[in-house]
Amino acid sequence: MSHASFIRSATQTLIDHADELTALDQAIGDGDHGLNMKRGALAIQGKLPQLESKPLNDALKTMGMTCVSTIGGSSGPVFGTLLVTLAKELPPAPGPADLARALGSGIAALTRLGKAEVGQKTLLDVLDPVRRLLENRSVQPSGDLLASVRQCALDAAQATAQMEAIKGRASFLGERARGHVDPGSRSMALIIGAVCDSLRVTP
């Protein structure tokens, strides 16, 4: 399969949901998240031809560097570091367990970078459940697995609403952050959902 298709759909879904992401960030943050993700997504879309012709790992690395150098804010380093780590850790044709391992490295890298841990209302709270779901599957991605990963990510993002914010710009809100979905988690879930969808169509 060509990674161009899931890059196209993941970036497009971020662009399409920019207003929703901004609204989430306005509730507990500074209202820039939608625009940040859109800026990164557009920059990646501008490199699609070049990404298409690269191996997956190189494409992930380029996308990560693009995030770092175009987005700024928390999202730039966070999504950028995640992608760069995946690029480093994934084998050429990864299976679910490979992905789980790479996500584990990604989470560790993000914790080193941003000092946040799982449970503190950041996108780590989407990455970790997805990692755990993939951990014990050694088969090739099936339609079923893709559907449950997708659902797991969306549910995990939704579940951040019940958390207090401890890291990130919303942390000063403490208790007041409860009831609001973490914007970065929603972005992460949208990306994972889009990737799953596009893998299901073109396995």
């Binding site: 507990i28 500074d30 625009l35 804010g73």
Partner: protein
């Protein structure tokens, strides 16, 4: 949304161009608008570089110039700049004595400056400013934000850099000033991020947000609007609790407007804050009052107090020539 703008996508570029043109005698614009740099770099002086999201003007570009910053990296509105910007700025203004980064404590700023520092192959150090005392619980480390006190750190460290202090000394000084500085703010209205198109939060006609930062975020508590005196008691009280100054301590008092509060009200707050400080036996020996560290057009203000020794005061008084702060030259 009512703003003096053309297209939301061009706000930052056009504003930076206007700024660079208006202050062409003291600053120049870096390639690709990645940074604003001081004209007339001094060889062998430690390069001071700061930066952060836009929307806080004059912070930081307004503080580039003699006696303060060598470069400032403007991010998008309320979005930290990218590591490329800090690297490009460091390349442009480092002259052999190393780079000191001055960073406000927000996760985005920390991560982007950290990535830049990791990639920079020149001697460097970082001062993290976290003067906001709105967040009481000390475990909320990343919630202790860098706000208006950043100006005071930049001014004092900038003066020491100008006289030739080395990187290690400046680093220590920056941390000392940060520790001696505490701030807290209140918002009467929200601001509107141009690209968002509407206000970040909605406040009732009789409400205010107590303990806001400078990113248009909602504050720590939403409470009924009270009098200037009561607000001053809460803000200044929290600051004094943190700094725990001795009676007779000399301080710098910064009453900072968030962008939509007129001078008339800011000076009224100076009066109110001075009453609280006087009651605590604190001696205000320097004042700064105005919209220096803003959140776009937000109405409200923050109070910052720095417990200063005579060395800090001398550095505060040293000549400075930037777009927004100028004295002695």
């Amino acid at each position: 949304m009512k703003k003096l703008i053309n297209h939301v996508d061009d706000v930052l570029a056009e504003s930076l161009d206007g700024f660079a043109a208006a202050h062409a005698d003291i600053v120049s614009m870096g390639e690709g608008r990645l940074f604003v740099q001081r004209r007339g770099l001094r060889k062998g002086k430690v390069a001071l570089i700061s930066g952060g999201g836009s929307g806080h003007e004059p912070l930081h570009a307004g503080f580039v110039g003699h006696g303060m910053l060598d470069a400032a990296c403007p991010g998008h509105v309320f979005t930290s700049p990218t590591p490329d910007q800090m690297l490009a700025a460091a390349e442009a203004v480092e002259t052999g004595a190393g780079v000191l980064f001055i960073v406000k404590n927000y996760s985005g700023d920390l991560m982007n400056f950290q990535m830049a520092a990791d990639l920079l192959d020149r001697e460097h150090a970082t001062v993290i400013v976290n003067d906001d005392v709105a967040v009481e619980n000390s475990t909320y480390t990343s919630g202790r934000r860098g706000v208006a006190g950043t100006l005071i750190v930049e001014k004092i460290v900038g003066a020491a850099a100008e006289r030739g202090d080395n990187l290690a000394v400046l680093h220590t000084l920056g941390e000392t000033v940060n520790k001696a500085t505490a701030s807290m703010g209140v918002a009467l209205t929200s601001c509107t991020v141009p690209a968002a198109g509407g206000p970040t939060f909605q406040l009732g006609e009789d409400e205010m947000e107590m303990g806001v930062g400078i990113h248009g975020e909602p504050g720590r508590r939403r409470v009924k609007l009270t009098s200037a005196d009561e607000i001053a008691v809460e803000l200044t009280g929290a600051i004094l609790k943190e700094l725990a100054p001795k009676r007779g301590q000399e301080v710098i008092l910064l009453v900072n407007g968030f962008g939509g509060t007129p001078s008339l009200e800011l000076y009224l707050m100076v009066h109110a804050a001075r009453k609280v400080l006087a009651a605590a036996g604190i001696n205000v020996v320097r004042h700064l009052t105005g919209p220096y560290v803003t959140s776009l057009e937000m109405a409200g203000c923050s109070i910052t107090v720095t417990a200063a020794d005579s060395a800090m005061l001398a550095l505060w008084d040293a000549p400075v020539h930037t777009a927004a702060l100028r004295w002695g030259m």
